[in-house]
Each structure stands twice: as structure tokens, then as C-alpha cells.
């Protein structure tokens, strides 16, 4: 069998972590090959090795049977490898044509031959069925169109092998259908495709073969025909013993957070949260499971007042929050461990002490007659540092100097200490080591046992399954199912997260 790309026994290390350990991926000519793995499994690292952004410590890459040394993306380009990134790399004020020819402009003397450029772009777009308006500005076209421009860019550069990094994450269902069609046209024109994804449905629908990697290790490569979503899910997640956090059965009481018919637009003005309703009770942890980009961030931003809602209602213990400013919402009794601790959670240039009072600096005892009371602030900081085991030289150390885990513990200390009725934890353990994860999970459960409501957002199924009392699956901005973690499986969750209906999922799991 002829392989166009062979990545053999690739090993890539970063300080303290092996991102790729002995992974082999072989791409046949004319196939769509899926690269499947959880967040952080090492998919992107592997593709960046292929694209020349990283150099592997071990292993070799062959293109059409010939050993190659890809030391930078230009070499990858010359070898016919093109990448369609998840986050588009386009110049917004430029036209479609200008973006496509950027860096390889056809020239007439010293000026760009725009006529030829437009003609070339038209030709390629007709040939591959990628309908675009060559003269439209990027800023004025839809996300799906922008993705086509990215694809055209690689084709214009003569790519034979196209890598798609989570291409459907930003697309509407209609656009996804169109993309599937585009894939088929590309294959019929002799191209080969690597599709990076963690959506099982897509793999089953469009791919020929799939390589599964888990925690940096290549698990298996198998034909999609004859496999099931369940098999793929278990390969992706792994069968090893899962660490379970000890917890008593939840005793949910009165409703704390009531969201009804909530609609929220994202930054691009697209409806990210659609008619979403959910109720959280005191004394329970509700986990939000879903693939990134299904409205989770917008939902949390709406609850915390960082994003305006289009319609609907958010009530905390009966009090309407949706029109309040973030400060009033915080004061109403919401704690928020933000998804991005560097962007939202901390002022990195502030000492830990000042970060510990980021929402409360204006209240007594931290402020007296509008003056800061540093003694009280540092006393508070010291107490939280001890209580939450934040490893820092002192409370005067800049937050920037702390490790991620300790930064996160500082944020959790600050939020939990305010003892909010509702604690929102968005990816609270992302990038942390096992010890810190355990600690943080225990703190969330402690809050629950104290009779508080906890909303947990995570992309880690383990975490959702272990910590939550109820799991709400979010898909395309809506809660499509609420399941009991004791009665569900990761396979079922994986299917639900990929948009399968509850019933289908149920049938599959009873095999």
C-alpha cells in the first residue's frame, strides 16, 4: 500500500512532559484519516511536528516513501503539506483573493497582477467546488466562507495533503454538511486529508481510517468501517482505573440558580446559547459536559454579568441577575473560578495579597475611608495561603511568579472564602497535576456539603463524572440531556456531547 505520509515512532518532549511518545501515523493516498484524542492528548503536537513547527526527539517522517527533515513550515509547504488551522490565519481587511495569494502573489513587473490572482482563485475554487467571492473582504464573509478561504490558501500553494484542525468546531450544522461535501471533492481530486477531531460522529461519517492517541501515546489505528462510536470512545478515554473522589450522596435542597429560556450571542453576534433552561439546587454539583465551543463560555459569562444576554432570565435565589453589573452579581452571592485564570482570574503583576482581595478590596476591613488597609489585606492573604496550600514565598510575591497550580489554588481560595451561594468553576483543574486536581475537587465537594450550589464546567469527562451529582450535556447552546453520573457511561456522554440523541446513545450502550 502506498503511503503519502508516514510518521514513524515520533517522540516529542517538552520540559517535564512527553507530549508524543512513540506515535506512528500513516496516511494513505486518497483517504481521510482521523486523528482522535482528548484535549491535551498530543494531537496538535503531532501535527505541528509534521508541519515543521516542532522538531521531534525521535522518529522519522517519510513523504511518498522518501525520508524528509521538516525543520520549518516552508519545507512542509514545499512538500505539499497544508494546514487549515482551527483559528483562521486571515487578514480581515484584505479580500479573499489577497488572502489566498498572500506571500505568493503573481507579479507583473513590480506590482501584483490582481487580474491573474482573481482568475487563479476562481479556477481553483471552481475545480474543488469551493464557492467564494474572490473580491469579498474577509471581515464581511461568514465563518464557513473563511474556512473555505483557508482551504483555498493551502490548495493555491499546491498542497496534496491537507491537515484540518478541529474544522467543525466553529461551523453551523449546514456548514458542516458542506464541508463534508468539500472533503469528498478534495479526495476525488487526489488529495489526502488528516482530520484532527474529538467528535466521534464526524469520524464515522466521513473518515476511512482513524488513529487514536491518548495521553501522548499512540493507542491504535483501525478502519472506521466495522468500528463503533463506543469502541472509539473507550479507546480515546482509556480503560485504566479512574481516580474517584470520595463523596457522600448529594442532598439537594431549594433551587439556587434558575435559568429560563436564555439566549446569548457570542462575540461574532451568533447565537451561542439558545433557549437554555436549567435549575441548580443548593447542595448539589451540576457538571456541564460538552465539546468546546458549544456555548459554555457564553453561558458562564452571561451568569456572571460579563456578557449581555439577548433574552431569557437568570435568577439567583429568586433575584433576577440578568440586568445587573458584575459587581452586584458577585455581591449577590456568586463565586467564579474563571476558565482563563491569566486573563480573568488574576492580575498577574499584582502581588498575591492584592489578588486575594480583587473583588473585596473596597469592603471593610480591607478599606477604611477609601484607603487600603494593607495590614488586613495581607492578613487575609496569609490565612488563605495557609488554608489553601498556595506555595508562594510570601503574600508580596507577584502572582506571575507562581506555578499554574498555585495560581489556581489562590483563585479557588479567594472564591471559596467568600462562601458564595453559587460557585461556578470553569475548567478548574486545567493543566494541573494530580495532587492539585484532587485538592480542588475536594474543595468543590466541601462547598456542596455545606449546602452551596456548584456549577462545574469541564472538558474532562473524568472530572465531570467524578465530581458532579448531575450532568447536563450542552450541545450547540442548548442542554440536550441531563444524566445521572452513576447511571451513565463515558461512551454515552461522548455520544451526547457529539450531538447524538439520547435514545440512540442509550441503545448503543446496551450492546
Amino acid at each position: 500500500m502506498e503511503y503519502v505520509i508516514e510518521m514513524l515512532n515520533i517522540r516529542k518532549e517538552f520540559p517535564g512532559i512527553v507530549a508524543n511518545d512513540n506515535i506512528t501515523l500513516q496516511l494513505k493516498k486518497g483517504e481521510i484519516h482521523a486523528l482522535l484524542g482528548e484535549n491535551g492528548a498530543g494531537k496538535s503536537t503531532l501535527m505541528n511536528v509534521l508541519f515543521g513547527l516542532y522538531q521531534p526527539e525521535q522518529g522519522e517522517i517519510k513523504v511518498k516513501g522518501k525520508k524528509v527533515n521538516i525543520t520549518n513550515p516552508n519545507i512542509a509547504n514545499d512538500l505539499g503539506i497544508g494546514m487549515v488551522h482551527q483559528h483562521f490565519m486571515l487578514v480581515d481587511p484584505f479580500t479573499v483573493t489577497e488572502n489566498i495569494v498572500l506571500g505568493m502573489e503573481p507579479k507583473k513587473g513590480v506590482t501584483i497582477d490582481m487580474k491573474k490572482a482573481v482568475k487563479d482563485v476562481k479556477e481553483i475554487s471552481d475545480r474543488y467546488g469551493l464557492k467564494v467571492d474572490p473580491n469579498a473582504k474577509i471581515a464581511e464573509i461568514s465563518v464557513g466562507m473563511q474556512q473555505r478561504v483557508e482551504i483555498l490558501k493551502t490548495l493555491y500553494r499546491g498542497a496534496e495533503i491537507l491537515i484540518f484542525d478541529e474544522p467543525t468546531a466553529v461551523l453551523t450544522p449546514q456548514e458542516i454538511k458542506e464541508l463534508t461535501q468539500i472533503f469528498k471533492t478534495l479526495i476525488s481530486e487526489g488529495k489526502s486529508i488528516i482530520l484532527i477531531t474529538h467528535k466521534l460522529k464526524e469520524i464515522i461519517e466521513v473518515c476511512d481510517r482513524v488513529t487514536v492517541i491518548r495521553k501522548g501515546v499512540g493507542i491504535d489505528t483501525l478502519d472506521v468501517e466495522g468500528t463503533t462510536p463506543n469502541e472509539l470512545a473507550s479507546l480515546m478515554v482509556g480503560r485504566e482505573v479512574l481516580f474517584r473522589t470520595e463523596k457522600k450522596t448529594a442532598v439537594p435542597k431549594e433551587a439556587v440558580l434558575e435559568i429560563t429560556k436564555l439566549n446569548v450571542k457570542d462575540a461574532r453576534g451568533v447565537n451561542a446559547v439558545k433557549d437554555l433552561s436549567i435549575t441548580l439546587r443548593a447542595g448539589e454539583i451540576v457538571g456541564i459536559a460538552g465539546v468546546d465551543g458549544n456555548g459554555q463560555s457564553e453561558l458562564i459569562e452571561a451568569i456572571t454579568g460579563l456578557r449581555k444576554i439577548s433574552s431569557g432570565s437568570i435568577k439567583l435565589s429568586g433575584k433576577e441577575l440578568s440586568s445587573l453589573k458584575p459587581r452586584k452579581i458577585t455581591e449577590a452571592g456568586i463565586g467564579h473560578i474563571p476558565q482563563d485564570r491569566h486573563k480573568h482570574g488574576l492580575v498577574l503583576d499584582f502581588p498575591i495579597g492584592e489578588n486575594m482581595v480583587l473583588q473585596t478590596y473596597y469592603q471593610t476591613p480591607f478599606s477604611k475611608m477609601s484607603m487600603l488597609n494593607n495590614k488586613e489585606i495581607n492578613k487575609k492573604a496569609k490565612k488563605l495561603i495557609a488554608e489553601f496550600d498556595v506555595r508562594t514565598p510570601s503574600e508580596y510575591t507577584e502572582a506571575r511568579a507562581l506555578s499554574g497550580g498555585n495560581q489556581q489554588k489562590a483563585i479557588i481560595g479567594r472564591e471559596v472564602d467568600r462562601d458564595p451561594d453559587l460557585l461556578i468553576a470553569a475548567q478548574p483543574t486545567r493543566g494541573l497535576d494530580v495532587g492539585a486536581i484532587e485538592f480542588i475537587h475536594q474543595r468543590l465537594i466541601d462547598q456542596r456539603d455545606k449546602g452551596k450550589a456548584v456549577l462545574l464546567l469541564s472538558f474532562e469527562l473524568d472530572e465531570i463524572m467524578n465530581v458532579s451529582d448531575r450532568i447536563a450535556v450542552i450541545y450547540e447552546g442548548n442542554i440536550i440531556a441531563i444524566v445521572d453520573p452513576k447511571e451513565t457511561t463515558e461512551q454515552e456522554l461522548g455520544l451526547l456531547m457529539a450531538g447524538s440523541k439520547r435514545k440512540e446513545a442509550g441503545e448503543d450502550t446496551h450492546v
Binding site: H344, G345, L346, L348, L358, S370, L372
Partner: protein
Amino acid sequence: MFNRVQKILIPVISVILGLIIGAIVMIISGFNPLEGYSALLKGAVGDSFYLGETIRQITPYIFAGLAVAFAFRTGLFNIGVEGQLLVGWIASVWVGLAFDLPKVIHLPMSILAGAAAGALWAFVPGILKARFRVHEVIVTIMMNYIALHLVNHLVRYVISDQQNTTERVPETASLKSPFLETLTEFSTMHFGIFLALAGAIIFWLILEKTTAGFELRSVGFNQHASEYAGMNVNRNIVFSMVISGAFAGLGGAMEGLGTFGYAFIHSAFSGVGFDGIAVALLGGNVAIGVVLAAALFGILKQGALIMPIESGVPTELVEIVIAIIIFFVASSYIIAYVLQRFKKGAK
């Protein structure tokens, strides 16, 4: 980014490098750098008269530097200090001329009028930034021109009767001090320096000790986290510009009520406001740094006046030295990099 030691070392090294390169320029141009610099030093602090003049020169630099630094600490770039200084100048003189009051009321009132005018002038770019995200750099630059021509119009047609200067402010609104003048062999030194130092202390107090300053610093470092923490980012932007403008306006009042005692038609910008940017940069946007940087600027500028007479080195050399200092501070990564190399080498 940089640690504490580096924050202090970088401006100091920049100044030394600036002086060294200035010396090289002098040698190339056929001057003796030792003679040049000693003339400069003599012209700045050589006797009590020169010292008085230098201190007088430092005063507006401190205020201009504080103005730029204050905005910068909130993440804003106030290029409009020049204009705010001019309106502060004319407002203080106007109030000085318009009223007849006892000194205890008249002088503070005139000074505050300068601060208020500067604050108002900076409020415009502040509110435009907060409301409509209009970039403050553009607006403040434009406001400089409006200030220049407005002030000239006021001097000629409103406050004076088609003259190039206004009348002198009466003694009740003057910062001039016969005592300080006698002490410094009749230099133009006035009380302003004490106000400037007090301004630096207030700057420090507001930013480091008050809850308002906590918000300003927080917004300056990280708007997202500040918004998350419930701070009103837009209000802080306006507030920061207003305080910044007030400092600039005070700088103008020092010139109007102290140095000159009147306002006059400016054919071009005074340059003090723009030098304030350099002062703030060199001073690391902290109060004590601004005072020290302003002192250096005052010494260089004042000494430059005597240098050609004593040593023949042209005044422009000081501009070269200042430019090189600013170059090195602005490209501080180069110095930080060399320092790091140096440290590694030592190990």
C-alpha cells in the same frame, strides 16, 4: 517582566550610556567631553543662582512626568499633557487676574483653576475613549492644537487688549518668593517645587494607598480581570485621564503663577508636556522615579544653556544625550538581555 533590581538598573545604565555616547560625539566633533560636561554641571548646579534656575526648571517637568505616568499606570497614553498644561497655565493666570482676594484664598484658587482646566481638557479624550473607544492618543494630540490656539486667542483678545502677553498676576496669586529669590542670588526659583514634590507624594498616595488607586492599577494591568472583579473599567479610564490632566494643569499653573507670572502667546508648543513623556518613561512611571528623572532633565536642560559659553559645546548636544537615554530606556530589553548574559557569565 523585569525584577526590581533591573527596574532601577535599566534607567541608570541608560543615563550612563547616554552620557558616554554624548562624550564620544563631543570627541568626534573636536570638543573635550570633560570640559563640556563640567561646563554643563556648572551651569546647572555650579552656584546658587544656577541651582535656583535648575530647580525652577525641574518643577514643571515633575508635574508633566506625573501626568503622563498616572495615565500610563492605568494603561492610557496621554500625549495631551502639553495642551493640558497650556490650558492650566491660562486658567490659573486668568483667575489670578480676575479676582481681588486675600492670598490664602486667591493663590490656592488660582492653582486649583489650573488643575481644573487641565482635568477638563483631559476629560474629553477620557470620555471619548470610555464611551466610543476612540483612541486617546489621537484625541489628545488634537486637543493639544486646540489648546494652543485657544490659549493664544484668550491671551490676545479676551484677557489682554490685543497684547502678546497678559498682565502680571497680583502678588496675592503669585507663587514667587522673594525669600527663595534672595537665597539663590535672584534666580526665578519659586514655591512651585514644594507643590511638585507634594504632587509626587499625592501621586504615590492615590495609586498605592487608596481603593481608587487599586482599581486604577488593576485596570492598567489587566482590564479583563478588573471587569471580572466587578470594577467599572470605563469609569476608571475617565478618572485616570482627569487626574492626569489635573497634574498637567498644575504644571501649567506653576509656569503661569511662578516662573513667568503671566501668560503669553505661544508661537509653538512649550515642549514641557512632551518632555513629560520622556520623564515618565525614564522614571519608570513611579513617583520617586519621575522626580529623579525630572531632576536629570532639569539639570541637562539648564546646564545646556551655559555649556556653549563655557566650553564651546553647542546646546544641541544635550538633546542628543537625552535622545540616547530615551532610546536605551525604550529599548530596555537590550539592556535586560545584556544584564542576563552578564549574570550567566558570572555564574
